[in-house]
Symmetry: C2
Subunit: 211 residues, 2 copies
DNA sequence: GTCTAAATCAAACGTTTGTTTTAAGCGACT
DNA sequence: AGTCGCTTAAAACAAACGTTTGATTTAGAC
């Protein structure tokens, strides 16, 4: 008998296809065919197509948010130890770096990242809902810490700037593999660390910009 | 007889539903029912579901890009007249302002904007393709002008920073009506001009940030 | 070897999908 | 009146959808 990794194979295939073609545009038949398992396996192991999406999200987002949460703890601890406000760059690095460096460590990470990018795209819908259930606490915490790091900035302003920052990151996540438009003489190939630093430079400048 | 505005009614209904639920998640029956026209009207007037999407995109994107193009012409003309590089803020204002101010003048603009946000979300797929066919020249031109405005910046760096900037804008476009996460004491209500200025402040600071 | 529970399988379920077909309605012209 | 072109209407189409079923196979316990 083939190893009983049917659930794993389904998660991998679904992650890839959901990311590439979208949730609604991907049929269970395409998924089960790619995973080389029976059509009924999805409903047997997960219950429904939507539950499969839920599992795909949770599998990568859970550990990722645990890492992020731990690194935010560090930033808060360092600030408390020295009795000062949290360091803005450390804060956003804690949020951004685990995300972008996924592609270095995890296999299939680019698919997950692209899927998250999609989740943020649809105002309503299954993908968004599943994603937000896990993401909202993280966003709120990042917002409050950012306000602490920039105490002179109005909260309302920082809210919108954080909106912009999240936009940059999510756009980067989904367009990572291939940029839809490449000017002459530009290559999209870049290593993760450089990209992280570039995004941090950009984001911090925007967050701290004078008004 | 009801006025023969069937095409118009279809465009309006499709724009709204595509934006709200996504292209694949929206059926022709839902569209024609919302438009109060016959099911066959879509295929009669447009040829196919995808052609209807194409028409929805073109209807708003064509005029919008014409405005943007004209404003970029202005920026270029001013720069040439004074024999200097284009002004960076004027450049990006020319690109951003017509987009955000759509919601003030056009009805149903928020739906179109949300649809565009979705178009950028899916790496492959119909929406993206239709959108990119009309957008690529505009992006390339904006990139070249930005390079002219910041001649000391490496093109590769500016390419990525422009990527970040587009991400902020597209995220703003689709999350405009309702932010998925609202911290305590924050309201998402804001007037268009203030929002435009905030986005410009943020974006310019990022584009010009030291390395 | 026998039994049991978990996993897989092929097949079919009833719906819904985008599209096509056929017929009818309507205004404008000769 | 009659006929032509354009538009709508209802019905039907094959195909694909997510899901369910009941039988079959597998792995491990006794």
């Amino acid at each position: 008998m083939r190893p009983p990794d049917t659930k794993q194979r389904l998660l991998d295939a679904a992650e890839q296809l959901f990311a590439l073609r979208g949730f609604h545009a991907t049929s269970l038949r395409a998924i089960t065919q790619a995973a080389e398992v029976n059509l009924a396996a999805v409903n047997y192991h997960f219950g429904s197509k939507e539950a499969l999406l839920d599992a795909v999200m949770a599998r990568s987002l859970g550990p990722l948010n645990q890492v992020r949460s731990g690194r935010l703890d560090e930033v808060e601890r360092d600030a408390a130890a020295e009795n000062r406000a949290p360091d803005l760059r450390a804060l956003w690095r804690a949020f951004v770096e685990p995300t972008l460096s996924m592609r270095r460590h995890e296999t299939g990470a680019e698919h997950f990242l692209s899927l998250v990018g999609q989740a943020l795209a649809q105002p309503h819908g299954a993908v968004m809902e599943v994603f937000m259930r896990q993401m909202t606490p993280m966003f709120l915490r990042l917002f409050e810490l950012t306000c602490l790091a920039l105490p002179e900035m109005p909260r309302q302003l920082l809210f919108w700037r954080m909106h912009f920052a999240v936009g940059s990151l999510s756009h980067l996540m989904r367009c990572n593999d291939q940029s839809p438009v490449l000017p002459a003489g530009i290559t999209a190939e870049i290593d993760v660390d450089t990209l992280t630093d570039m995004l941090l430079d950009y984001t911090l400048a925007g967050l701290e910009a004078p008004r």
